[in-house]
Amino acid sequence: AQSVSQHNHHVILSEAASLELGCNYSYGGTVNLFWYVQYPGQHLQLLLKYFSGDPLVKGIKGFEAEFIKSKFSFNLRKPSVQWSDTAEYFCAVNAQNTGFQKLVFGTGTRLLVSP
């Protein structure tokens, strides 16, 4: 069964700092990869997703992620964070060719951006 690891549980940054959140998954086959964001008091929203093609994926709000198949990684990046990026970020994976896919989440990374 697939699993997802997010190494940083809490990250604190100052505005304008660069962000990189790690995500590794375990599954040997073809996967679809997602990053979701949950702002305080709001529902999960899709930041970006990777299905195929260019491994560098650009999402909303200036976020991007790079799929490195050899490292089973899908790290999220943003060159310059803003206070409004304070939220919890979840990496998720669903595996292809395993019957009915299900979306498996990591434990999340709570980001606090100080003004």
Binding site: Q45, N94, F100, L103, F105
Partner: protein, 115 residues
């Protein structure tokens, strides 16, 4: 388009009581998911429906949890009897089909507190 609707938003019950949550997915979405998100953890899939059939309930505590999607549209998740450890946010999500390639849309969730 309208999002995934869930009700109630909040519920407080005593242990051993029963509770039910309701979800109305996006119109036309064949696949519906119920997730449990315990504080500090990522969402965990409880059950997945394809139309009105269950395709994955491997992580549903079936001695106390039940769910149905009788007409292949809205769904109800029930807990009976509730335990303290059931305190969590219960998220409903839907996708166009079982591949999830068109994305998953999440509702705002129901926050359950068991006292």
């Amino acid at each position: 388009e309208a999002g995934v609707a869930q009700s109630p938003r909040y519920k407080i019950i005593e242990k051993r009581q029963s509770v039910a949550f309701w979800c109305n997915p996006i119109s036309g979405h064949a696949t519906l998911y119920w997730y449990q998100q315990i504080l500090g953890q990522g969402p965990k899939l409880l059950i997945q429906f394809q139309n009105n059939g269950v395709v994955d309930d491997s992580q549903l505590p079936k001695d106390r949890f039940s769910a149905e999607r009788l007409k292949g549209v809205d769904s109800t998740l029930k807990i009976q009897p509730a335990k303290l450890e059931d305190s969590a946010v219960y998220l409903c999500a839907s996708s166009l089909d079982w591949t999830g390639e068109d994305g998953y849309t999440f509702g705002s969730g129901t926050r359950l507190t068991v006292v």
